[in-house]
Symmetry: C2
Subunit: 368 residues, 2 copies
Amino acid sequence: MLERRLSRMQEALQRASLDALVLNPGPTMAYASGLSFHLMERPVIFVVPPEGRPALILPEFERTKGEASPLKPTLFTYAEDPAARAATFEAAASQLGLPGRRVGVEPLRMRVFELRLLEAAAPGTQFLSAEEVITAVRVAKDEAEVNSMRHAVCAAEAALQATIPLLNPGMTEREAASELTVQLLRAGSDSELPFPPIVASGPNSALPHAVPTDRRLQAGDMLVIDWGATVEGYISDLTRTLAFEPVDPELARVHAIGLEATRAGRAAVRPGVACAEVDRAARQVIEAAGYGEFFTHRTGHGIGMEAHEPPYIRGDNAETLVPGMTFTVEPGIYLPGRGGVRIEDNVVVTPQGCECLSSAPRELRGVA
Amino acid sequence: MLERRLSRMQEALQRASLDALVLNPGPTMAYASGLSFHLMERPVIFVVPPEGRPALILPEFERTKGEASPLKPTLFTYAEDPAARAATFEAAASQLGLPGRRVGVEPLRMRVFELRLLEAAAPGTQFLSAEEVITAVRVAKDEAEVNSMRHAVCAAEAALQATIPLLNPGMTEREAASELTVQLLRAGSDSELPFPPIVASGPNSALPHAVPTDRRLQAGDMLVIDWGATVEGYISDLTRTLAFEPVDPELARVHAIGLEATRAGRAAVRPGVACAEVDRAARQVIEAAGYGEFFTHRTGHGIGMEAHEPPYIRGDNAETLVPGMTFTVEPGIYLPGRGGVRIEDNVVVTPQGCECLSSAPRELRGVA
């Protein structure tokens, strides 16, 4: 499998006229090499040449891990003294013929730290965004990848199911988020969650990217829960909106609109359709109901090994859907100071249309 | 508190002759601004000028979050279309007078993504490492920070205590790590752990940065458990080595040596001592016992808001300790293919010497 991924990546590099791809720790490195390193203050770089064997620059004390890679990369190791790194990077760059070439990097992942080491080791090299190369290889998931995501959705749904009976007024958002995390692990998620669960209550639910606070859940609150699991390196990312009685009638109406918008978004998904059309389908429902100005973000984003990856379901994205793409559909409506609603599903584009991976109840549930 | 941090940071910028500091989401942004953003595909930049009010570049839909900051930064927001970002970055850079200046960045945090946006918005600007400026401000913790770390150590120790009775042969490393994660949350850790717990058994315990696998724990295994909690944004990072009977006599001896090395490292800590001396104190014990070549990493690293930060306890680091510095002391001995031992404590430098924050039993405990 890794060999096949490597050769697809090398073909994509050749098409993009790049002389190499340099990856630091993260999902793309794991996808391409099977190697999982923490992103830390010791640089680790996986180098994919346009053909032939890849290379790996890493600390000497991690050599065993590099040697275990089935791709058998050429290893360049450095000792603990940070001053020793430059020579290792230079040796690697020169042996791999990087100086003066066009080398691809992952802009959302590669840090100034690694970039400066590479720039010093490979004078005259242009470090260019390889985002398109990487997306081309990773964006359409195969059946094994989709299966892992199914498991990640199942684990997340089981965790919410187990958490709902434990929610009660007086509990803080942070406590509710911790409980949900515990249930995610119990349900089989890897301990590295895709993101810490969001539990946003009352006025905080009107913040699209709220962080759980010490605010206590209370009567009349909307409760936006945005959470996901990681299984076999693949993630789920769901949102459901609950409420503590008595529910503000306008917010209940807004919930029904959000529900219809999510449904309309899902219904628009099929091969050949532009990302923008999916966004438009969801957005029109909210605009038609008079809440357009309160839907302040895009309709969704790709998911897979990462919680945010292409394709982005935005009104300005003309990119068309192909089978195997997996993404969220998550319109939201946020009334500042009062409360918000978001309902988020995970879908996969199929040759026929769309399969929705998530099935947890979406209607407004009053709790406690 | 944020005002005091801001003015200390501004003084440090002036001393370093930097015209501004630009921070992307992470601990330093949180430390300086109180703002917590996910690191994602939408850039968020906090700009600290050498004097006066800071600024914040962020998505329009996050404006409310920016407005809530007690530092009242000048806000520059951009719309969802990625093409809209360049104009916002240019307006910010020009209004803040960044073009052609010397601007500090955090190399371990800032990505090529944000760097390229800033480079385009501020032609002729040099983006330089501000690591020393940031370290100068953050490295010595105040009493409130140390107290949070005490709580993080307590939570971690309680979690291990609760997990040990649940460990048994036949369970996988991954299951043991999940159980420990659950117990960390039960013990009061924030759901964003400093790092996913490491449980490394048998031959895997000889890998210093092992990732939990599906290997089942079994008789005769050494069991290296490296874990930590996050409380109030501060972390703990501990390691204990357990064993399943019967224990290989050499590995038991190695454990006793590791224990003595950790003790010697802690005993060397006091103000004015070089980081290298602490490393040497721990390393000498292992070298004298004939296992020097199997201690393949530095003795420790700073901790605080991050799991790895200055000061680094390395043999080549002449930097001297000052009160308030907090770091790990974690010598290890790794016999490839057989097993490893690591015992890790968390210490704070006091005016008188050293306070060890961790107290969980360190001796070799046989489990099950």
